[in-house]
Symmetry: C2
Subunit: 691 residues, 2 copies
Amino acid sequence: MQETWLVVGIVSGLISLGVAVSLYRWVLRQDPGSEKAQEVASWIKEGATSYLKRLYTALTLVAVVLAVILAIVFSFDLTEVGIGNVTMNVGHGLEIAVAFVVGALSSAIAGYMGMTIAVAANVRSATAANNSLTKAFRLAFNAGSVMGLAMVGLAVIGMSTIYLITKDAEVVLGFSFGASTLALLAKAGGGIYTKTADIAADLVGKVEVGIPEDDPRNPAVVADNVGDNVGDVAGMGADIFDSYVASAVAVMLLGSSLPFAPGESLKYTIFPLVLCTLGIFASLLGLQFVHVGENGRPGKALNNGTVITCVLFAVMVAVLVLAGGYSLGVLWATLAGLITGVVIGFTSDYYTADNRKPVQETAKVSGSGAAINIITGFSYGLVSIVPSVVGIVTATLLSYYLAEYYGINGVYGVSVSAVGMLAVSGMIVSSDAYGPIVDNARGIAEMAGMSDEVIATADTLDSAGNTAKAITKGFSISAAALTVLSLFVAFSQVLAARGVTITISLLNPIVIAGMFLGAMTPPLFSALTMLSVTHNAFDMIEEVRRQFREHPGILKGTEVPDYASCVGLAAEGALTSLIIPAFLAVVFPVLVGFVMGPEALGAFLGGAILTGVIFALLMANAGGLWDNAKKYIETGQYGGTGSDAHKASVEGDTVGDPFKDTAGPSLNTLITVMSLVSSLFAPVIAAFHLF
Amino acid sequence: MQETWLVVGIVSGLISLGVAVSLYRWVLRQDPGSEKAQEVASWIKEGATSYLKRLYTALTLVAVVLAVILAIVFSFDLTEVGIGNVTMNVGHGLEIAVAFVVGALSSAIAGYMGMTIAVAANVRSATAANNSLTKAFRLAFNAGSVMGLAMVGLAVIGMSTIYLITKDAEVVLGFSFGASTLALLAKAGGGIYTKTADIAADLVGKVEVGIPEDDPRNPAVVADNVGDNVGDVAGMGADIFDSYVASAVAVMLLGSSLPFAPGESLKYTIFPLVLCTLGIFASLLGLQFVHVGENGRPGKALNNGTVITCVLFAVMVAVLVLAGGYSLGVLWATLAGLITGVVIGFTSDYYTADNRKPVQETAKVSGSGAAINIITGFSYGLVSIVPSVVGIVTATLLSYYLAEYYGINGVYGVSVSAVGMLAVSGMIVSSDAYGPIVDNARGIAEMAGMSDEVIATADTLDSAGNTAKAITKGFSISAAALTVLSLFVAFSQVLAARGVTITISLLNPIVIAGMFLGAMTPPLFSALTMLSVTHNAFDMIEEVRRQFREHPGILKGTEVPDYASCVGLAAEGALTSLIIPAFLAVVFPVLVGFVMGPEALGAFLGGAILTGVIFALLMANAGGLWDNAKKYIETGQYGGTGSDAHKASVEGDTVGDPFKDTAGPSLNTLITVMSLVSSLFAPVIAAFHLF
């Protein structure tokens, strides 16, 4: 009976993937536009492909090394050679290694599909904006849906198949670890890439030479456009993919290790896969409701889609729980997660919406200079932590106590609430991926010299994308927090299942030491990625200057600049910058565990979760706020474009860029990877550690 | 026998106070300078006095209300009226209330003495700089010593006397709570005041009207100079006073509640007072070694004084431990704290020194604009967290395990290490208070139109102050961290002594919820104080504009501006801005305790300590770094004063101002107050809480 659900899951994943492929083809069949527009788009496509090639080559190497380590570590029982005294679940090294590779591959495929479709959709959406808002919107949204549906489809197929074959939640953990490691590197690498190119293009182009943004004479301009795609689309897709999988895995680990009634264990182990399956159906239905008339508001259409999907999902879960004989506790936990996710999403919007106090106040003080703009925006960014933290706390307590009330383990309830938030990711990612596509469509329209009307239509589409983005960010950070919290408990359950009980008491000095080390990791990670951005941008600036100097024809417009060299520089810089951050994410936690023991490692994770969530919220919201304060001034407020207030707000926006696009978005994934690698290595660490 | 130590403590405190008073008189006897200089100084003095009057009036009200609450709460046993089941140490309500008031009063007196002497020393030091560097240095340093010695003297007298009378460590806790509450409000209020005036004076004066900094025609200029005194001198003194007392109290609480061998309990309870006594003697001796020749380097003289004091102190403690039959564990714990404090202090210097990579790199990128300067400085600020956190972790683990190794409770060892760091505060505060005095001397020299040579001498004195300041900051933040960690454990010991065992396990959802709420408090506190600065600065800018408009004689130099109205505005703004931060510090923890229970409260403190320490380090170091990057450019690097790089670095410095002078320095005190109020109310909360 329960196995049937796994098969249903695989089928739903295949349907989702099928719809994604047919939408992909539909998008490719649309008018690719004028020769000029196609030429611009082809530069971007080439750059993006070249970056992804380098990225995936580097990551293949990393994945192979990690897979070999996993295969070896999980094949032997250390107690047999006289090390440690904890019996591990030995002999599944090969399964875990294969699952790890499949997870990494799935994440890569989802990112690759998303990016190729985005690159294709950019130019087609710009072309469609020539004669119809409805058409341009449909094109961009369908392209976004390719990403959303491919992602959830691949995830559910992967998890269900692995569990169907191995019946071992820890092997699914290997899949999740693969997906998250790839996501982290793709996200951080893309984030460094995109802002390196952005800053270099702006500083030489706009400031030194005085040519407009997106001017094709700027050798860095293609790298900049590529960056939007690799950072926003591919990175973000990989990011939600990883939270989605990790949240389900946490429930599966708890379901398989907690003492459920006989016969109930399997039911509650695969419950998250059932939720994901229902989420896929709800998303497929919800997508049908997203359309916009010629004079309609794209933002409203996107929000309607999200709300309808959530309602459909809630109804489906209620029916499932009542008909399937599940505890009412899991229904309430799911709803607690879902509702909190939506509430946090809309609350986050308050801090970045241009008709609210934070953005308006920041815009107002900008007349007094960049510093005051930055202090104000930063402070509101700090305040914006509050509603999300309160939301996370509420969801945790509600799902815990409601689950306990209905006779289900409370921690299991918390982990279900995270899945409840993320199950509708198919819809959420679709509206989120729409954003960078219309953003790029606007850039292409400008570079290809399209009319002002087209650009105005593109602007309308773009502003809706920003709201969708703000909501998704609140959603994804809090979902990651809940996911990581449940992974954290899963970590201790994995140990308990091996007979090792740990008590992570805050009154133990090694626990305090572990917490401090963990708490320092996310800020350090942020700092390293941001320093890479400024460092790499300086290298690229040198290259742009060299091209202008050695080829005077470029600025006259008689010579085509060497876009590829800038693209290559950005890619190489981003990839070498990843070495220390990758170490912090994957090796540092394991090192802490082996040296200081499992309790310190648990505390390390606790500390990292706290500061990870806080810095992620601060950076995402402050970044969005500065961006919108600038845009608000550009509508003519406080002197409008060109005024002192505007200049100050541009500086604020530039500070916000690496906050919101480089450092901030990697933090969810960082704490997820840290939790996954800790849970995976928990038995080994319990068996063998120094102190 | 042990009571003798208390008497020795009181005597050493009286000696320290006596030396402070005689130095105070010596300073006042020095040449107060020209009539012009005296006039300028008198404006500052009046402004400072008027601010302190308002501050202390407001604080008296707060103190009276809190004292009454304490007197009532700790006089009755709730179990007698059928509430709760934990017997409290009843009947000492009046003692605690009186101790609280005495603590607040001592802190106020130390701050007041420091500020009046600083205001008197400013002008005298400027005058002395006319003919002798040695004399000017001696004057400023002696004035700083008044602050340092008064502070440690009052603290040791207060704690020893209270313990001698009541023999109850919890009453001393009341004293500490009073000192810290006053320190927090003085520090945060002073921080808001000083930056409000600074920003307003700069924005209208330098930017709008184009008159130089410190120009007497600017109505906000006196408020700005007053701010330097109330923020830096009075605030900082109150701040270290509170850590000093709190660290000793934590040891006393542990000493009196942990199960020591019979007869040893009193010995280890008053041990921190003995350490403080030795620290006073070491400081008094160390101060004698601080002098500088006409061509000498003031920075070196200050560092020598610190190192000599530390060595003397270490020797004294070694003799005490060996001769007094103490466990060797407390010697190692003291040394672990002392050495780590010094190492952290000098490491912090790396991130703010202008001959090191962080400052130089930030200066270098400034040519590309304010945003790049700010991203780079902020990132290095994040990196600067690492060495201090590693230091705190090392000190914690070393002192814990060394104490345990020698048969002393490990947590007791950790708390001793914090006292080890802070016992030499007499010396540390003396060199730190020197900084703002010479800074102000420079300002007065400029306002009173003294010669360029005098200003150059003042500059030499000033740069030494900045290094001393960086070292003290690293020192005080890490000492606060250790103090708060031991208070945190003391909190659980207070409960254990009442028969309530708490297990703050990270696997408990209410603990996780508490940690998240705690972790969000320091960032929120920072944000509120910084938003107050920009908000209040805008009000003051309006007032300055009004004066210029209604009295055109001011700018012509024929009319004296109304300095007092700006001073009043800044004071009023700062005091009303304190309401919500005070609530967060004092009421919020108690509320969390009463609603969510003692375990959640413990976790709340844990979360607050983590983010409090991290944000304190980030803000202090990033602020110092931006300041020095600007100064480095002003030495002629990257285009020097007036270049684009310089303009960018000025913006960075302005962002750093509220970081390092408003939000950052209050955070230590915030977490100390939160820990103290929690420890104090722990028995009541254990007896009665909602969940």
